[in-house]
C-alpha cells in the first residue's frame, strides 16, 4: 500500500533521514520505534509532504506521491495525527471535526456522509460528543488527542499516520486510544503507521515494527519478534522504565 524507497530528508544541514526504506500492506498496523531524534516524526512528515524528501521515492498504491503538497496527500487518503495533537484550539470540537472533512465538502455526494461520519467519531469517542460545542483549547490533553484522531478520521483516510498519540497522557486514556486504533483496523480496515515512545504498548498493538537510530532503519520485523529481540529489550523496553501496560 505504502512504500518508501531510499528516502533522504534534510532540514538545512541536518541529514535527518538516511536511505530509509519501509513498506506497509493494506490493513496492517506498523510501528516505528526509536529514541528522540531518531527520525520517526520526520518520516511521517515526509510522507505527509510537510518536509519533502530530498531524494528517494514514496509510492502510495503504486502512485508516486513524494513531491505533492500536504493537502494533495490528504486527498489521496493519507491523514496524519500530528505530534502534540495540534487541534485548532479556538474552534469548537464540532468545527475541528468539520475541518477534518474540509476536502470532502467540495463534492456533493461526500458532503451528505459527513454528518454520519461525525456520529461515527462520536461513537468511538463519546466524550467528544458531550463536548461538541466546547472550544478545543479548553479540553484536557486526552480529549484533545481524541479530537485530533477524530479530525484525521473525518477525512476518511485509507492510511492513518499517528505521531506519539500517548505522549503526556494518563494510562487509562492511553488504553482507550490504543483500543480505538485496534477497533479502526478491525472494523474499517484502516492501515496505521504508529510512531511511539511507548515501545511496549506499540509493539503489543502492531503487526510489524521498524527500529530507527539516527535517521536509519537498524532493525525490522514482526512485532512479536522485536519484543523478544535482546537489543530492542535493552534499549527500548528497559525494565527500569515503568511501562504503562504493566500496571
Amino acid at each position: 500500500m505504502l512504500r518508501l524507497k531510499n528516502i533522504n530528508t534534510s532540514y538545512g544541514k541536518v541529514h535527518a533521514l538516511k536511505n530509509v526504506s519501509l513498506h506497509l500492506e493494506q490493513g496492517e498496523i506498523v510501528t516505528l520505534i526509536g529514541a528522540n531524534g531518531a527520525g520517526k516524526t520526520t518520516i511521517l512528515n515526509t510522507i505527509s509532504g510537510v518536509t519533502p524528501a530530498s531524494s528517494g521515492d514514496i509510492l502510495f498504491n503504486k502512485q508516486p506521491v513524494q513531491s505533492l503538497p500536504p493537502d494533495r496527500i490528504v486527498k489521496l487518503g493519507i491523514s496524519q495525527v500530528p505530534e502534540g495533537r495540534q487541534v485548532f484550539k479556538p474552534l469548537s470540537v464540532e468545527d475541528n471535526l468539520q475541518m477534518g472533512a474540509y476536502l470532502r465538502y467540495r463534492s456533493r455526494e461526500a458532503r451528505a456522509d459527513i454528518h454520519k461520519d461525525m456520529e461515527n467519531v462520536f461513537a468511538l469517542f463519546p466524550r467528544l460528543e458531550e463536548r461538541r460545542s466546547q472550544l478545543a483549547g479548553t479540553m484536557s490533553g486526552g480529549e484533545q488527542q481524541m479530537l485530533a484522531i477524530g479530525r484525521a478520521l473525518m477525512a476518511k483516510p485509507k492510511l492513518l499516520l499517528l505521531d506519539e498519540p500517548s505522549m503526556g497522557l494518563a494510562p487509562l486514556v492511553v488504553q482507550e486510544i490504543f483500543r480505538v486504533l485496534d477497533q479502526l483496523r478491525r472494523d474499517n480496515g484502516t492501515t496505521i503507521l504508529l510512531v511511539e515512545q511507548n515501545a511496549k504498548a506499540a509493539l503489543k498493538l502492531a503487526d510489524r515494527g521498524y527500529v530507527l537510530e539516527t535517521g536509519k532503519v537498524i532493525l525490522e520485523g514482526a512485532a512479536a519478534e522485536l519484543m523478544e529481540n535482546a537489543e530492542v529489550k535493552r534499549a527500548y523496553l528497559g525494565k527500569d522504565k515503568k511501562e504503562i501496560w504493566e500496571r
Binding site: V50, P69, D71, Q86, G100, G137, R151
Partner: protein, 293 residues
C-alpha cells in the same frame, strides 16, 4: 459648548470611524491568516476610489455598476500583489515582509500617480447631498451609506468566519497553519484569499468615503495608518473589536478637531496608536493569552 455641536462631531466621527474600521479589519484578516502587517492595505483604499472615478467618467457607467467594477478591479490588484510580491518570497521573515509591503505600497502609489495624475478628484455622492436633520445635527445621505454598508460588511464577515466551512478553514490556517495543511486545507490558497477579501474591503472603504473627502493617489497613506490604528485598538481582531476601535478613533478625532483644533486631527490618532502599543499591545479589549495545553 452646545449639545447639538457635540452630536454633530459624534455623528461625523462615527462615519469616518466606520471607514477606519473597514480598513482595520482588512489589516486584521491578512495578519490573522499570515502574520503579515500589510502596509500596502491603504493603497487598495485609494485604488477603490480612483477606479470608481475611472468607471464613472471614462466609461460613463452609472454608480451602481461603477462601484462593483471598481471593487473587482482593486481586488484583482490585491490578488496580483499577493502572487507577485508575497508568495515568491523564499524566506518570509517579518522584516522582509514589512519591507516588501512598504515597497509594494510605494509602487502602487507611483503607478496610480502616473495613471490618474496628482490632482484631487471628487466622486458624486451615491444619493444626493441634501442634509438630513437629526436632533440638532445634520448628516448627509452619504454618512448613512457609510454606516449601512459598514454594518452589512461586518455582519457578512462575521457570518463567513464563523458559519462557513471556508471561513472556518481560514481561521484554522491562522491558528495552526501546519495542522491546517495536514487536514487538507491548501494554506497558500487561503493566504491568497485573505488578500482578496481585505483588498476588496479596503476598496469598498475607499469608495464610500470618496464622495465626502475627495480622493487622490496619496490618500492611502493616511487612511491606511488610521485603519492600522483601529486594528491595533481592536487587538488585530477581524471582528467587532476592530469596529469599535475604528469608531472610537473616528469620534475622538472628530471631537479633538472640533473642540481643540483641526490641526491636531491626525496627531490624535497617532498618539492613541503609540500609547496603545506601549501600554496595551494586545489591544484595548484583549486578554493576555492563557490556554491549556
Amino acid at each position: 459648548m452646545q449639545f447639538d455641536q457635540l452630536l454633530q462631531y459624534a455623528v461625523s466621527g462615527l462615519s469616518t470611524g466606520a471607514i477606519y474600521a473597514l480598513i482595520g479589519i482588512g489589516f486584521s484578516i491578512i495578519y490573522n491568516a499570515t502574520g503579515i502587517i500589510n502596509f500596502a492595505q491603504g493603497e487598495f483604499v485609494m485604488l477603490g476610489g480612483l477606479f470608481t472615478l475611472t468607471f464613472l467618467d471614462l466609461l460613463k457607467l452609472p454608480v451602481w455598476a461603477a462601484v462593483p467594477c471598481a471593487v473587482a478591479a482593486s481586488t484583482l490588484a490585491g490578488l496580483v500583489f499577493e502572487r507577485l510580491a508575497i508568495r515568491p518570497l523564499r524566506q518570509p521573515t517579518p522584516i522582509n515582509l514589512v519591507i516588501i509591503t512598504i515597497g509594494g505600497s510605494i509602487l502602487i502609489r507611483g503607478l496610480a500617480m502616473l495613471f490618474w495624475g496628482k490632482d484631487t478628484h471628487s466622486i458624486p455622492s451615491f444619493s444626493g447631498d441634501d442634509p438630513i436633520a437629526i436632533g440638532g445635527a445634520t448628516i448627509l445621505p452619504q454618512h448613512l451609506w457609510i454606516l449601512g454598508i459598514t454594518m452589512v460588511i461586518v455582519a457578512a464577515n462575521r457570518f463567513y468566519f464563523y458559519h462557513t466551512i471556508s471561513g472556518k478553514a481560514m481561521r484554522a490556517c491562522s491558528y495552526n497553519p501546519r495542522a491546517a495543511g495536514l487536514v487538507g486545507i491548501d494554506v497558500r490558497r487561503m493566504v491568497l484569499f485573505s488578500f482578496v477579501i481585505s483588498s476588496a474591503m479596503g476598496a469598498v472603504a475607499g469608495i464610500i468615503v470618496a464622495p465626502l473627502t475627495m480622493t487622490a493617489y496619496d490618500v492611502g497613506i493616511m487612511l491606511g495608518l488610521k485603519g492600522f490604528c483601529a486594528a491595533i485598538i481592536g487587538g488585530m481582531s477581524s471582528g467587532i473589536a476592530t469596529v469599535v476601535g475604528g469608531l472610537i478613533l473616528g469620534v475622538l478625532e472628530s471631537l479633538g478637531a472640533g473642540l481643540v483644533s483641526s490641526g491636531y486631527k491626525d496627531a490624535i490618532a497617532f498618539i492613541i496608536l503609540l500609547l496603545l502599543l506601549f501600554l496595551r499591545p494586545q489591544g484595548l479589549f484583549g486578554k493576555r493569552e492563557s490556554e491549556r495545553v
